[in-house]
């Protein structure tokens, strides 16, 4: 049975009233290579800094070897960090950088010599002892930063996006070396990155984080093959994410066709369906064909071809195959039930709470929206807004409140956007218009699309 070395119990953290981690529960097994993966701002670095001791959780508990870490300052924790831009001390040479921690612990000089030499050999930098760290290349600085951390024989090595500053080729090489080092040292590695490929290559376990919450924990194959939600599916690898509905026992309908699947959900449940582009197969056998499509574009990607096809029902899908199909050709396609990943929908509409201003207006998200209603002014109300009942405008002045496009999901025939409003709330919007991440938009509501207004707590 694996032994837990680090454990997070209901950990939350916020900065200036803004919540960055929400109720994190997580454990790390001894000797494991675990990766915290997520987009910037997801809270992964905050988690790492908590383990290192630079931050304390607001709520919850952090355990090392079963003992609480609270109140133990970073210099007394048996953990070491490889920092994002290495943070090698520019006033010290390579040897003194590596010996820094040992000298503080008053390790005898000959022992220091021995250990420094040993780690230099491990990171293949044996002849660099006297070099000024600023004369080293990025990759060399990287190695010294790792050497400086592991020479102290930490129980856990924390790595904060250590490869982010390197170029692609170097990054690939270092990935292999890191993996090798982990094997040789046998200590626990906790690795933070936003690069999904790096995470898939290196890790024993991946923890996918978004918006301060753990989305999924699993092995690289689990996470790739069985993402639990749209975010994970979209963030890890390429995928077709589509709206679907259960139509029977292990039967799901999407792109206006019905398919057999392996997930057993309730009848008629609205779901999201993920199909990896390499899991849609071409066939010439009409008996196997589940739906037809027309090839729209075909691009060579080195090993495979990437094709976008238009289905006979008006959806766009991405397909990857080793053989190209000519643009404009009609093709027959099928999907294995095993490859259809069905997921519960995270939400069916936007639910907001606001206050009635008058019979024509409701105050929501710090803005006065024209929403006809039959409540007395001052009533607290719950407003349920379908994804397509929100209108986004180019011109900020045309909207009631402003927001920023935060996340975009293409669902075959429309976009599903996450919008962050100025007051920090999120809205989810279905639209056919093309927006880019980071675009600023004006937000308007379309009451004719069926917005439901009820008294709060009803």
């Amino acid at each position: 049975m694996a032994q837990k070395i680090i454990e997070f119990k209901h950990v939350s953290k916020s900065f200036d009233g803004k919540s960055v981690l929400k109720d994190i529960n997580l454990y790390v097994n001894k000797g494991e290579f675990i990766t915290l993966l997520g987009p910037s701002g997801c809270g992964k670095t905050t988690l790492l800094r908590m383990i290192a001791g630079f931050l304390e959780p607001d709520e919850g508990e952090l355990l090392l070897d079963g003992k609480p870490l609270a109140g133990i300052p970073p210099h007394e924790r048996p953990l070491n960090t490889v920092f994002q831009r290495y943070a090698l001390f520019p006033h010290l040479d390579v040897y003194d950088n590596i010996a820094f921690g040992l000298k503080l612990k008053k390790v005898p000089q000959d022992e220091i010599d021995k250990r420094v030499r040993r780690v230099l050999k491990l990171v293949a930098m044996s002849d660099y002892e006297d070099r000024d760290v600023e004369t080293l290349s990025g990759g060399q600085q990287q190695r010294i930063a790792i050497a400086r951390a592991i020479v102290n024989q930490p129980k856990v090595l924390l790595l904060d996006e250590p490869l982010a500053a390197l170029d692609l080729k170097m990054r690939k090489d270092m990935q292999i070396e890191l993996k090798e080092m982990h094997r040789k040292l046998g200590i626990t590695f906790i690795y933070v990155t936003h690069d999904q490929e790096e995470a898939l290559t290196l890790s024993d376990t991946i923890v996918v984080l978004n918006e301060g919450k753990i989305q999924q924990i699993g092995t690289p194959t689990d996470i790739y093959n069985e993402p639990v939600n749209c975010f994970v599916a979209d963030f890890i690898g390429e995928s077709n994410i589509l709206k679907g509905r259960m139509t029977g026992k292990r039967r799901v309908a999407f792109i206006k066709h019905e398919f057999d699947c392996v997930d057993d959900f309730e009848f008629d449940e609205r779901v999201d369906v993920v199909i990896r582009p390499e899991d849609i197969y071409f066939t010439t056998d009409p008996a196997k064909c589940q739906f037809k499509a027309k090839v729209n574009t075909c691009t060579f990607k080195g090993v495979h071809y990437e094709m976008w096809v238009d289905t006979d029902t008006g959806y766009e899908l991405m397909i990857q195959d080793y053989d190209p199909y000519p643009v404009g050709s009609e093709v027959m396609l099928y999907i294995d039930p095993d490859d259809i990943q069905v997921m519960h929908k995270e939400r069916l509409c936007n639910t907001l709470y606001g206050k009635v201003k008058d019979e024509e207006t409701i105050t929501l998200l710090d803005g006065d929206f024209p929403l006809p209603n039959s409540f007395e002014s001052g009533t607290e109300v719950k407003v349920e807004i379908p994804f397509d009942a929100i209108d986004l405008m180019d011109n900020l002045d045309d909207g009631v409140v402003d927001g920023e496009v935060h996340f975009i999901l293409y669902k075959g025939n429309h976009y599903h956007l996450t919008i962050k409003t100025d007051d920090g709330n999120s809205l989810w919007v279905d639209t056919n218009d093309i927006w880019d991440k980071g675009d600023l938009v004006g937000i308007r509501l379309l009451p004719e699309k069926g917005i439901k207004i009820t008294k709060k707590d009803e």
């Binding site: 290192a52 630079f54 300052p73 970073p74 210099h75 943070a87 001390f89 503080l104 102290n152």
Partner: protein, 255 residues
């Protein structure tokens, strides 16, 4: 593109005329007698002139003390100002910089007057106080700049490697902030040695600094001896700025 390097020509001419030539003239006058012949008498006079030598010694002493006090008072202040935990408003920093923009003579006179009103007799003590008062912002600002721009992960890395915060401060933060301290020293030490007027106001003419004797000689038309004294000062400047490795960076820290 390279044609535009010729745009530097007017300024190069200007620099030669108004910076290089005047310094050459200082050298020339320093080694000439009144009739234009080469001589070492002016320099020799300084080394045999007891008053000049003791003034020089006092100046260096006051300058060293002033610089030391400015570092002792200014470093903690700069550190606190650069630390987000203690200070988040840029206004506090402006308040520290602002006196730099106010006429030094005015500030000095105000200080002297305040001392007089409080009944403190003017002398070495008030001179040092006034000097610290005048030059402290020049020490704080460059140190603050360096500390503020310093990557916080250096100190964190030290703590991560087992240093207590106090040790991390001495072993990492302080050595890395030395360029700021050096430019502070450059901006406090030399000006202290060379001030005139300020020391007179602050000590009621009791203590003279090196700058004052240069000024007195120039004003009494003893140009050659004045130039020789200025030359000696130039040598000290050369020595102090050698101490700060990167002058450009040091001066840059001010802006």
């Amino acid at each position: 593109m390279s044609k535009r390097s010729s745009w530097s020509i007017p300024y190069v001419v200007f620099l030669v005329l108004f910076v290089v030539l005047p310094l050459v003239l200082v050298l020339m006058y320093a080694f000439q007698d009144g009739t234009g012949h080469f001589t070492l008498k002016n320099i020799g006079k300084f080394f045999t002139d007891k008053d000049a030598l003791s003034t020089f010694a006092v100046s260096v002493e006051v300058a060293l003390e002033n610089t030391a006090i400015c570092i002792l008072l200014g470093y903690p202040a700069a550190w606190i100002l650069s630390n987000k935990k203690y200070n988040r408003s840029a206004v506090t920093i402006i308040l520290f910089i602002m006196p730099m923009w106010i006429n030094a003579l005015m500030r000095t006179l105000a200080t002297a007057q305040l001392f007089t009103m409080l009944g403190i007799s003017l002398g070495k003590g008030t001179l040092l106080f006034g000097m610290v008062y005048d030059y402290l912002p020049f020490m704080i600002y460059p140190i603050y700049n360096v500390l503020n721009k310093m990557d916080k992960s250096y100190a964190e890395a030290a703590v991560d490697l087992g240093a207590t915060p106090w040790k991390a401060f001495w072993k990492v933060t302080v050595p890395l902030s030395m360029p700021g301290v050096m430019s502070g020293v450059l901006m406090v030490f030399m000006p202290t040695v060379s001030t005139f007027a300020i020391s007179e106001f602050l000590t009621n003419n009791k203590i003279k600094l090196f700058g004052t004797i240069i000024q007195e000689n120039i004003n009494s038309s003893a140009w050659n001896y004045g130039a020789a004294l200025a030359f000696i000062m130039l040598i000290i400047i050369g020595l102090t700025s050698l101490l700060s490795k990167d002058k450009e960076q040091a001066e840059g820290a001010l802006i």
